[in-house]
């Protein structure tokens, strides 16, 4: 996982609430190996019209947001299916930060494992940020994870709170499995006691 440093990039607003992982990454694309590059599938169906042409009213299709790496979304972003392809596709499209009032739990966990920073801010603050980005000629935000601070297009700053562990992993590009395996002795001891307490857990088909 690439360490996260300060990111200064174009931000794209997405007004819709409850954007689900089917909309971020349609189910029929999951069977594609990651190697094909998932950028081509990002918001595949909702950014196109029925004839398959890109819709002008979808922000990501507009020149202004073409190079967006920060997504400013609505409530409950990433609800629905657990498919991690929804995170891969955003990463492959260049996104490193999603800002929203709330996230689907599984999606947020998947983001953390892949170095996609999720920032949760109050609904009114996010709505205001989307409005400012839409109005700005240069819709750029700077996200400083170390300082837990966003610089808005106006130059004003906005504080956010990062989860300490997410921050630590992102800043250092750490692999979580390696970190967890450092607890091998605790896991072994727990497992032994757990199996002694609940002996029927040993898997056996009768």
């Amino acid at each position: 996982m690439d360490p996260f440093e300060t990111l200064s990039a174009v931000a794209v607003p997405l007004e819709q609430a409850n954007v689900n992982t089917d909309q971020i990454f349609p189910a029929r694309m999951i069977k594609k190996p990651r190697a094909v590059g998932y950028a081509q599938f990002t918001f595949h169906d909702i950014r196109r019209d029925d004839a398959g042409a890109l819709r002008d009213d979808f922000p990501l299709n507009q020149d202004k947001y073409r190079d967006a790496r920060i997504l400013v979304a609505g409530v409950n972003f990433g609800c629905g299916s657990s498919r991690e392809g929804a995170v891969y596709t955003l990463l492959d499209s260049g996104f490193r930060v999603v800002i929203a009032p709330s996230f689907g739990d599984i999606f947020a966990a998947n983001c953390l494992k892949n170095g996609l920073l999720t920032i949760t801010l109050p609904e009114a603050t996010v709505a205001d940020l989307r409005k400012e980005i839409s109005a700005a000629a240069a819709p750029r935000l700077t996200v400083n994870l170390e300082a837990e601070e966003i610089t808005r297009p106006s130059g004003e700053t906005l504080a956010f709170e990062a989860e300490p562990f997410q921050k630590h992993c992102l800043l250092n590009g750490l692999n979580e499995i390696d970190l967890s395996l450092e607890f091998a002795a605790e896991i072994d001891a727990f497992e032994q006691a757990h199996r002694a307490r609940l002996p029927w857990l040993a898997v056996e088909e009768g």
Binding site: E15, Q16, A17, N18, N20, D22, Q23, P26, A27, R28, I30, K31, K32, R34, D45, I46, D50, G74, V75, N76, C79, G80, S81, S82, R83, E84, G85, V87, Y88, S102, F103, G104, D105, I106, F107, A109, N110, K113, N114, E163, P164, F165, N175, E176, I177, S180, L181, F183, E186, I187, F190, E191, H194, L198, P199, W200, L201, V203, E205, G206
Partner: protein, 473 residues
């Protein structure tokens, strides 16, 4: 020495599975069972790439369900024309073989949807922590387990570590204070609950369903309720286990037996939430007021009693909510004020991890019996064993006689990635769990409802109140 505060079942399961805690407050939770499906190939890729060992392959179970064909099973893999789809079924076979993991695969009579087969085989038991590579893993909470969906990276993490890091979720009690009225089902109840708390209403929470409206349900009906917890944003949903659950588990292939059974039973009886236990939130639902429900929009919380009318966004005060409603009505091609029962459907799908168990098929068959489907309708049992049982009961003959298709088990048109799906613009009465835009095929329009309601839509050709048909006999 002070008295210990009364605990919820979730408290008990959580506290008995904490391996260790981190400074930031997250706990490493022991995972008793890991459930996999074809889309887990990303997790196996990660295990291979990082050269990891699978810690306890015996605690993982894999299921071929998302991509399997629902026809021509005698031809095995050859029944899958699309090479990419076929590859998914082959990958889960190869990966489970390589890592010595049990697979309920194509050609196995026990094969079926992971959330149907897990309980059916006795793999799901009270008090367990179960992680699944699918968001509807919450289904298993019906037996008193803490069960939740995870993504591929966390699947790889469980394979390597047998644990997961989690902040302790909050708890929400959904208290269904009285029983459901006749003609109303568990599906109607959960749609009513989601409509009440919203698609994101339970984010960060584990829901415990309780009260007479829940204890009166069968174990299968509780699975339908717990299954859709995720559609309210919940991390998991569960029910305190009772004798119905213990009777359900007893004698199943992976259930404890002999002396182990007695020990397990004694432990399971200690799990239910104690009276007076504290929850972070409480929601009270009047079960007696729940009517047969249908969704009208593109999110499971956009649901109403079938006797109602399509809502009018103009009457909505909140601007964001109004926009959301307008977008849904445009996609669904519906007009405000339209009678829900006047909405004609093109297709009917009875199946999915929400509603493909034997009781679901019986309920649908009771409506289909002696009637004729007016639109193409398909029935997809949740497992090979359910299919066999239904055939022993003669349900397939009722369905076939009524012009319904009788298919082979799998996820099929719930997620529409095995080749079964809607054409653009087609409208479907479906017993599945998500009415998202494009969920059942690009441009497809989904109305969620119970199996009996879906069967009623099939024989009338439009959304219907099944109580009217049942009254006719």
């Amino acid at each position: 020495m002070g008295t210990e505060a009364p605990k919820t079942i979730f408290d008990r399961i959580w506290e008995s599975h904490v391996i260790t805690r981190r400074d930031d407050g997250e706990s490493l939770i022991y995972i008793d069972r890991l459930l996999l499906q074809e889309n887990s190939f990303h997790a196996f890729d990660k295990i291979r790439r990082e050269n990891r060992k699978v810690r306890n392959p015996g605690q993982a179970f894999a299921f071929a369900d998302h991509y399997v064909p629902t026809r021509d099973r005698a031809r095995g893999l050859d029944a899958i024309a699309d090479p990419e789809i076929r590859n998914m079924v082959e990958l889960i076979e190869a990966d489970t073989r390589a890592y010595d993991i049990t697979l309920f695969g194509l050609g196995d009579i026990r094969q079926g949807i992971l959330h149907v087969v897990g309980p059916e085989q006795g793999i799901t038991q009270p008090g367990l922590v179960i992680a699944g590579a699918d968001s509807h893993t919450s289904t298993h909470g019906a037996l008193g387990a803490y069960a939740f969906g995870i993504g591929s990276s966390e699947v790889a993490h469980v394979l390597a570590v047998q644990g997961l890091w989690r902040p302790r979720p909050k708890t929400m009690l959904v208290d269904v204070v009285d029983p459901l009225p006749a003609g109303t089902t568990a599906k109607d109840l959960i749609l009513a609950i989601i409509a009440r708390i919203g698609a994101g209403g339970a984010v960060g929470h584990v829901i415990e369903y309780a009260g007479p409206g829940i204890t009166g349900l069968s174990v299968e009906e509780r699975m339908t309720v717990c299954n859709m917890s995720i559609e309210a944003g919940a991390r998991a949903g569960l029910v305190s286990p009772d004798d119905k659950v213990f009777d359900y588990v007893k004698g199943r292939p992976y259930a404890p037996r002999g002396e182990d059974w007695e020990r397990a039973l004694a432990y399971w009886r200690s799990l239910p939430s104690a009276p007076g236990a504290a929850y972070d939130r409480r929601v009270e639902i009047t079960g007696g007021e729940v009517a047969p429900m249908v969704t009208w929009g593109t999110s499971p919380d956009q649901a109403l009693a079938v006797t109602g009318r399509v809502p009018d966004p103009a009457a909505e005060g909140d601007a964001d909510e109004r926009r959301r409603m307008e977008r849904a009505l445009t996609y669904m091609d519906l007009r405000p004020g339209q009678d829900l029962r006047a909405i004609a459907v093109d297709r009917v799908f009875i199946g999915s991890c929400t509603n493909s168990r034997i009781e679901d098929l019986r309920a649908a068959a009771a409506v289909a019996k002696g009637r004729q489907a007016r639109v193409p309708a398909m029935v997809v049992p949740g497992s090979g064993l359910i299919k066999r049982q239904a055939e022993e009961e003669g349900l397939h003959e009722i369905f076939l006689g009524a012009g319904f298709e009788w298919r082979e088990p799998g996820c099929s048109m719930c997620v529409a990635i095995n080749g079964d799906g809607l054409q653009p613009g087609e409208r479907c009465a479906s017993t599945s769990n998500r009415n998202f835009e494009g969920r059942q095929g690009r441009g497809g329009r989904t109305h969620l409802m119970s199996p009996a309601m879906a069967a009623a839509a099939a024989v009338t050709g439009h959304l219907s109140d099944v109580r009217d048909l049942l009254a006719e006999g």
